[in-house]
Amino acid sequence: MKTEQRLHLCQGTGCLSAGADRLYKALAHELSKLDLPVELKRTGCHGFCQRGPIVICEPQGFFYCAIQPQDAGEIAEALSQGRAVERLCYRDPQTGRPIPTYHEIPFYKGQSRIVLRNCGHIDPEDIEDYLAVEGYQAARRALLEMTPEQICAEVERSGLRGRGGAGFPTGRKWQLCRQAPGSEKYLICNADGGTPGAFMARSILEADPHAVIEGMLIAAYAIGAQQAFIYVRAEDSLAVKRLRIAMAQARERGFLGKNIFNSGFDFDIEIFEGAGAFVCGEETALIASIEGRRGMPSPRPPYPVQSGLWGRPTNVNNVKTYASVPHIIRNGADWYSQIGTKQSKGTAIFSLTGKVNNCGLVEVPMGTTLAEIIYEIGGGIPGGKALKAVQTGGPTGGCLPASLLNTPVDFDSLTALGAIMGSGGMVVMDEDTCMVDIARYSLDFTQKESCGKCAPCRLGTKQMLNILEAITQGRGRMEDLDRLERLAKSVQAGSLCGLGQTAPNPVLTTLRYFREEYEEHIKYKHCRAAVCKGLVKAPCSHTCPAEIDVPRYVRLIAAGRFADAHAVISEKIPFPSVCGLVCFHPCEARCRRALVDDAIAIRALKRAAAERDNGRWKLYVKRRPPTGKRVAVVGSGPAGLTAAYYLARKGHAVTVFEAFEKPGGMMRYGIPEYRLPHEILDAEISEIEAAGVEIHTKTKIESLDQLFAQGFDAIFLALGAHRGVKLGIPGEDEVGVLDCIDFLRRVKLGYHVELGERVAVIGGGNAAIDAARTALRLGAKATVPAADADQEVLDASRMARRLGAKEVRIIYRRSSTEMPASPEEVHEALTEGVQIEFLTAPIKMTKENGSIRLDCVRMRLGPVDASGRRHPEPIPGSAFSIYVDRVISAIGEAPEIPEGFGLRQTKWSTLVVDPDTLMTERPGVFAGGDVVTGPASVIEAIAAGRRAASSIDKYLGGDGDISEVLIDPEEDAPFELEEGERPRVPIQTLRIGERLGGFRQVELGYTAEEAISEARRCLMCDLEER
């Protein structure tokens, strides 16, 4: 049989707004030019709206996305040769490989489309297309072969529950309506898609209107209704238009009108265009609206099935419910009830939107987990960001945290967690979303949409909104949280309809799952997503743990005033040069310029400023008279030295105790030379010493009592986290696994470490990358024993560094998206030749013929764990072995706290402190940095040092004010914003050939001109009107 070639062009709202109409004309033109026997078909929404316009080539199933009119010629030509145009195919976001057919695209592969089966495959304006896929056969069968009772029973047995939100069993509802007294009955289809974040009702009407009409026909026959209304929003004009066409065609064929299928049954449908009111999603309000009244709900009972439209028994169902019915009648209740869970049968349709790679319409069996929908079908979160929450059920639904992503989607599971299925909105939110703001936003919506009939809803939502606005503007108080909860419960209890009963959901769920964000807004005026305008001057400075005034110094650089820019940075941190080189720049992740092209290179600009400093700012540093108080700081990392610096500035006598031979902590021993040359660190530490800080190296403190006995008034513990965490796999001790931190320290100290030629590094953090890149640079065959070398041997071995290990592999158990190491470090490592084995975990090590046999297993990402990340699980039968000479473990570090301290520790060995004062349970003893938080970053440690200095100063009787003004707060001189896109000025790096021979600094930094040009990309958010 000759296959008939068809081109399906999506004409849904999404694709039309992306230019599908022009594309249709272009395709028609090209096809006629080639005189191809191809049917060009306009279809409804195919669901993958984000990638529109979409073209599908049948019967092969070739799938093209984001097609422009100029691509038409190529498509037509390929069609004539029966091949796909690879360039226009969907590409796997991970591998970049084209996926030619839609069956293979993860977005479709993970779905089971029943209701959406025809969407995108038939022409909604041509009834022949619907008839060709067994259209109206279910209705024919129902009307001719089944009694109304049988239909109700069949639908009830199928387990179909109303898709409008409440989930009432559809068959039972029909039965009730059928049994209600009265000969005149009505049927209503609620197609009011007015729920923000949910557009499936409209999409189904646009793509497959006959399915809804057929479902309504069956329902009408079952309950004995002769007249129906489809309540659809006037704004959904395309849906209205297609519905009108479909109804006219159905009438022509006798599927609507008198004596349908010669059964003697009369039935017709009228379209009622809703005038826009969210509350009309509620059935009694919807009925009021059709009756020409304000859309206000009325108390139930009586239920509409007893007394609805004009007092007659009325059955109201939603589009998805009706569209499911023909499938149930055609395939039987048993078939349908096999799909889904025990209590929720069939499929769930969601509009998946928000911060997710693949947005669009998704149909999955009930019981599919949120994680499966978001990660497998949705393709995860864009930009490598972390998922924070998912809101199901629209603005009256609840927000669930990442840790609950294993929740199956069905009516009861979602309700149990405080969320709802609702009408099927599913909005994914990432770390850039503020949950307090989302609660405020949702309430702002429901408050406006409240019809005003019930006082608790009308007044309560307004009061809740007022409180939420106060919190997001920094005027909140802790007792507000209890008030919110009380109000929420009153609104829930005291409202007639679903709107009021569910309006508090977003507030209650965010309070339950994201309470710490509320507390941060109230207590610290901090919005971690940098969203709330009342709190956030600019997202970069708000996000910086040390609150450096980023926009101000970027503007100074733009004006060529590098030294002044450096002074602005020095107002907040004593390590501006170090941060210019190694800061992990959380500021850049929030930079709004990224919406245009790339984030500003804030870190590199900081370096540019530091390199052009003239030291004039030192004249402005505050010097205070001695207080006579003495502070001991244990540990000389960024936290310890920062605290020491600011405490010395406040006039206290500060002594720093360091166990190793030189100060600097992880900055010296953890960060390799090629990222942070030691001279730069030394220079900044001498500034700290110049401020009066005394540093005692090679001094290990074992007892706090001794320090107090020596006359110190306060102690700051900044010991860091240096003890490597063990892998916990067999053979680890026998083969001599190197601990990453230990390894990096030995290299820094100049020890030679025997690595051999092949090295495996296990882990996925920055430390793993540092270890791998260091190993590449190291001599592979030197012979100096490492463990007990003295100084001379060390010096000798310094000379022994040679060209690197031949083969360095990082083994990481999750995928690249989850990798905590910063992307630019990963990029440099790959450039230098480090290999990364993603989704691989070691399971055993054995010595074999002088090398190490490392048995590994391939992993796949399974359900999420408590941290909200997908947990890797081994793929059965995927074990394999690699042979290496050395294994370096870099899976994390923990603090090592001398027993003599007698301080309480957490199960992660970190110290317990008061989060506000950083004081431990022992008065006068404070702690901060990695020893409290576990391994974190330089800038976070500096921020902890600042907080500790302020807190210790207060403890010692000071005012705790450590602020500095190092240049006159000059008038702000905004520059003219450039038009259009201009990506980040690239930062020059050392050529690969010059890198591996040693530890030369890889990043070369900006020239003055480059820095100025980069700084001028800043959008100056801080000057925006608020």
């Binding site: 709206c49 005038a275 304000r294 989302i438």
Partner: protein, 146 residues
Amino acid sequence: MSEVKARTQGKLIPLLQQAQDKWGYLPQEALRQIARLLHLPESHVFGVATFYAQFKLTPVGRRRVIVCRGTACHARGGARVLATVKKELGLQEWETAADLSYTLETAACIGACALAPCLVINGQVHGRLTPQKAAELFEERRSRED
């Protein structure tokens, strides 16, 4: 209420929609006439006309801009798009320019969530906006009008 009267009342919203289609908004006189036609109190007609978001009691601009405030748009930075449009047009939400060139409205959701953040200008959806792209939309429009 008699059966007939109840059924007549059902014509109210479709009639208001027709009137608005004709004049672009609902002049007071139209409301009066509709009330008379359907034998309804004017207060009832006014009540319904002010209840639903679709109905306008004042004239609207030649270009009707509807910025979506749906959840998906909000989560993708819709608030900043709205701020930009307000600035570009010099209008607040639900305001119409004195020269009737533009009306700025917001919608709970226009249902183009996959294209968030988005807005509609005279029925045409513009999606995947940034504040900058939104601003460009009006620059173009302005110069086309010149």
